[in-house]
Chain length 337, copies 2
C-alpha cells in the first residue's frame, strides 16, 4: 500500500488564490489492477489556466494540472518501471493511472509517454516540450503564420509561453518585441533570449515605447495578458495583422460580473482588417508531438533556451502557483517534487 | 458648358459633422475629351464610412461617396447616353468620368455600369445591390460561413447593411436577432423583414434580453456598431463563434485620443476560441457582381425586401447624412438628386 498526498480545493477563489482555499489530504492508494501503473510525480507545472478553470468545477475538487511522473510499479508491460509519463493528475505526489483509458476530454484525460528528450531535463515535459511549448508553436506558426521580416509583439514575454514564442519568432526571422513586468526580466529577455527589444510595462508609456520600437507597425501579436496594454498594441497593428489571444491573465482575478473596461478595439479592427483569434492548446492535443519534434531539435541546436523557475518541494506548490500568477517567474514555473 | 455643384469639406469634423463644415461650390465643367462621359447624379448614398474616412484626407476635399448617375453626354461608345453608372464621385450633381481610367484604388476609383436590375429601382445601386448589400453578403456568407440553425445577432439592424444581412441569414435558415435604436424600427424589422426577435437597445437590459432570445448562445455576430453592446453580445457567444466587425458607429464621433472604454473581450475570446475579423468591402471589389447576382434574384423572388429612407433634393444631402449618423433611417439612407 502507498500513501499519497494531494491538494484539494475546498472553496472557489475570490480574487487571488489563497493557501487557505486548499486542503492537503493524505490517503491510501489501492492495489494496482491489470493495465494500471503507479506513478510518482517528479515535476509539476503551475500554469495560469488553473486559475481560470476554477469556475469549471464544483468544490471540493482535486487540483488538476500537468505533471511529469515516473512509473514506480506497473501492471502494463508497455509502461515498465522508470518510464516517464505526462498526465493531468495535478497537485499530488503519487497516483494510479489506467493506461488504457481513452483520452475523451483534454486536458482532463491527458496521458502520454514523455517523448525522448535526447538528454534534456524531463522538467521540460511540462514546459518548452510540453503544453506551453506547443502553445507557442501552434499559436505563432499556424494561427499567425509568421513570415520572415514580420514584427511580432509578445506580452507576458517572460512566461512559459512567451519565452518559447519569442525564440520561435526569432528562428522564423522576425523582429520580436516583448513586454514583461520587471527590469530584470527585460534585461534577461534581451540579453539571454535574444528578443530585439523588451519593455517593463509598469514603467514605460506603452504607446510611445512601441511606436519607437516598431516604427513600421506590428504584424503579429501574441496576447497572453489582455487588458489595456492589449488595446494599445492592437491600435498599432498593420493592415491584415493577426492577434492570437491565448490568455487574459490581467483579469483572471477580477470579479466576473465586473470585468475591467479597456479601450474599444473595433475602431482598429475594421480599418486594419485585423483578425483576433482565441486559441486553446487542448484543441491541438493530437498534434502536440509535431511541435515537440521541432522544439527538441531547436533546443538541441541551441536555438531555443529553456529557462525555468524551479520551486523545490511538493508542499511549496501553492507558493509556486501564487508566485507565477504574480509574475515572479522567469520562464516556466515548475515544482520539483 | 455645364455648371456643376459639389460639397467641399472645409474643415475636419470635431464630434458630429456640421453643415458649416461644408461649402457648396459651383463650378464649370470643361468640355469632354475622348473616352470621357458627362454624368448627372440620380441617387447618392450616404454611408457611415464617410464619417470615418474624414481622417484620411487633408481638407479641403470634395466629399466622396457612392452615387448612381445617368450618362448625359458621351465620348465613349461603350457608355451611350442614358446608361446608368456607379461611381465614387460623391456629393456632386454633375461630373466627368474618364471611362478608361484604371481602378487603382478602391473606393476612390470605383466605376462600373449599374448591373441589369431587372426592373428594380436604380437607387438600389447604392444600397442592397451596391456596396452595403455586398457587405452583408460577403460578411455573412464568406466570413461567418453561416450554417442553417445558427443563431445570428446583428447590431445596427435597421441600417443599410443590417436590413439586408438579417434577411440573408433568414434565407440561410438561421435564427436572427437584431438590435436597433427605436421601437418603430423594432416592430418594422420583426413584422416587415422577418427578423425573429429585435430589441430597442436603448430600452432593454441587453444581457438579459439576449439571454432570453438566444438561450443556446450566439454563433455569429455581425458587429456594425462596436461599443459596450458588442462586449455584451460577445460574452454570450458559443465556442468557435465568429464575429465579423464592419463598423464602429458608436464611437465614430469620439475623440480618437479618448476612445470609449468597454468591457474587456479577451476573457471570452480565449475560452470560446472566438474569431473576430475586421471586414472591409473594398477588399472584395472585384467580386461584387457575384453578390449582386444573388441579391437581385433574392429580391425578385421576394425573399429580400429593400427598404429605403429617401431624402429628396441635392441640397438636403447633408441632412440625410447627419440623420443617418443619428440613426434616423429605416433601411438604406439615400438622396434623390
Amino acid at each position: 500500500m502507498v500513501w499519497a498526498r494531494k491538494y484539494v480545493l475546498k472553496k472557489h477563489y475570490t480574487g487571488a488564490p489563497k493557501l487557505s482555499d486548499y486542503e492537503l489530504v493524505q490517503y491510501e492508494l489501492p492495489a494496482l489492477k491489470d493495465g494500471e501503473i503507479l506513478v510518482k510525480a517528479e515535476w509539476i507545472g503551475v500554469d495560469p489556466y488553473l486559475r481560470v478553470y476554477d469556475s469549471v468545477f464544483k468544490v471540493p475538487y482535486d487540483q488538476f494540472g500537468l505533471q511529469v511522473a515516473i512509473v514506480q510499479e506497473s501492471k502494463d508491460p508497455d509502461y515498465p518501471v522508470a518510464t516517464r509519463v505526462v498526465s493531468h493528475k495535478g497537485w499530488c505526489d503519487y497516483s494510479i493511472i489506467d493506461t488504457k483509458a481513452p483520452v475523451k476530454e483534454v486536458p482532463w484525460d491527458i496521458f502520454y509517454k514523455l517523448p525522448d528528450l535526447k538528454g534534456l531535463s524531463p522538467s521540460l515535459g511540462v514546459g518548452a516540450i510540453g503544453m506551453p511549448g506547443a502553445t507557442a508553436y501552434f499559436a505563432l506558426i499556424e494561427v499567425c503564420q509568421l513570415k520572415a521580416g514580420d514584427t511580432v509583439v509578445i506580452t507576458g514575454a517572460a512566461g512559459a509561453v512567451g519565452t518559447v514564442a519569442g525564440q520561435i519568432a526569432k528562428i522564423k526571422g522576425c523582429k520580436v518585441i516583448g513586454f514583461a513586468g520587471s527590469d530584470i526580466k527585460v534585461k534577461w529577455l534581451e540579453n539571454e533570449l535574444g528578443f530585439d527589444k523588451v519593455f517593463n510595462y509598469k514603467k514605460v508609456n506603452i504607446h510611445t515605447a512601441l511606436k519607437e520600437a516598431a516604427p513600421n507597425g506590428v504584424d503579429n501579436y501574441l496576447d497572453c495578458v489582455g487588458g489595456e496594454i492589449s488595446s494599445i498594441i492592437i491600435s498599432q497593428m498593420n493592415t491584415f495583422g493577426k492577434v492570437v489571444t491565448i490568455g487574459s491573465i490581467s483579469s483572471y482575478n477580477a470579479d466576473p460580473s465586473q470585468l475591467p473596461k479597456v479601450t474599444i478595439l473595433q475602431q482598429y479592427i475594421v480599418p486594419k482588417r485585423l483578425t483576433i483569434k482565441g486559441f486553446v492548446i487542448w484543441d491541438e492535443y493530437k498534434r502536440w508531438s509535431e511541435a515537440f519534434t521541432n522544439l527538441i531539435n531547436w533546443i538541441k541546436e541551441g536555438k531555443i533556451k529553456t529557462p525555468e523557475h524551479i520551486t523545490e518541494g511538493f508542499t511549496n506548490i501553492f507558493e509556486a502557483f501564487s508566485g507565477m500568477l504574480d509574475g515572479e517567474n522567469l520562464g516556466k514555473a515548475v515544482v520539483k517534487v
